[in-house]
Symmetry: C2
DNA sequence: GCGGCAACTGAAACTGTTTTCAGGATAGGC
DNA sequence: GCCTATCCTGAAAACAGTTTCAGTTGCCGC
């Protein structure tokens, strides 16, 4: 039951963050959503910061998983496009993850501890993109610097993600933009 | 004196948001920074939300101004690069504006009123970029769709801005990336 | 069945922040 | 000089949220 409760609390945290952001994150909401008492949050995670930290670790862990397990398309360029476009989608889980990630990034501007976690996670993702680009460049030739291109593409996806979450672009528009940028870089 | 005080309060708001984010935004901090009593904030702006709203309007207004008044370089492509790169810089004011904008964008995910303001402001900026691209395309020729390129470049700048504020890239790296992307798109 | 331990509860205490409000200062019109 | 309106103050009250803690439950080994 212990792990069950922990897991339920962390899931409730994600839902709460997706619904209201970190600013609107209330321990009471989390407890209610998870169907446990507020005291249990403290029992398992110490204080609000500990809970938030655990929840955010949970989110980034699952995001890292998703990034890894989406590789079975044919060419490197196709896999690259699929990986980057998987950040957008109608699936509520994708949106929730994206919102959590967005909040986390905003938080990181003021909290060095968060900044380190964000940086580590971003670097891992960018490295995956880097490798795919290097592979694609080998296929097609070209004078592109894979590291520079990886920075551009991942930053672009983050920017588009902000636009998408605020309703400024649709999923399709974001994905088209990503593909166009990949093409623009000569891949 | 009235407008003086109002203006000082709004400036203090920006500094406070830049220092601590919207979650760390304390009316008392604002009052101290502006050198006025906390009661005066209520007198002029009603409540916390009213103050925050006014401060954010103030930020977007000035951001729009800055975007408009930076046009005197030679070619359209040069002006485009200058405009986009002006989002990054060591000047504390640029950083503060960027942080405030970053916070505002994160807030907009949950507050439709903010989302509308952000969308309007972003659209204006993107339109400026669009026009510069159209001009540059005329100069050089090419099959680029200026609207699509404007979306890509502005979203890229927003993504890089997040990386910069969290210390993941330097001002120079961000600017180099922007220039490289412009070049990649064939401008 | 008893002792002890881990999971769990929720109301009360506490902390930090915002809002209110009675009133003080200043300037301008009469 | 007096009256009034506007700007402004800051302490007190109200509020929102987190943390604590004394106590309950149920399980497991003995």
């Amino acid at each position: 039951m212990t792990n069950d409760a922990r897991e339920r609390i962390l899931t409730a945290c994600e839902q709460t963050i997706a619904r209201a952001g970190i600013r609107g994150f209330r321990m009471q909401d989390v407890a209610s959503t998870a169907g446990v008492s507020i005291g249990l949050l403290a029992y398992h995670f110490g204080d609000r910061d500990g809970l938030l930290q655990a929840a955010l670790d949970h989110v980034t862990e699952r995001a890292a998983d998703r990034a890894t397990h989406s590789a079975d398309a044919t060419t490197a360029a196709t896999r690259l496009a699929a990986l980057l476009c998987s950040e957008f989608g109608r699936d509520p889980e994708i949106r929730a993850g994206s919102i959590a990630w967005n909040e986390l990034r905003a938080l990181a501007v003021f909290e060095p501890a968060q900044a380190a976690a964000v940086a580590r996670s971003t670097a891992a993702w960018q490295r995956t993109v880097h490798e795919l680009i290097a592979e694609a460049v080998q296929d097609r030739g070209g004078d592109l610097d894979p590291a520079a291109a990886a920075l551009i593409l991942t930053a672009l996806v983050e920017g588009l993600s902000g636009r998408w979450l605020t309703g400024q672009v649709t999923v399709e528009e974001a994905q088209v933009s990503v593909r166009e940028a990949i093409r623009g870089l000569g891949l």
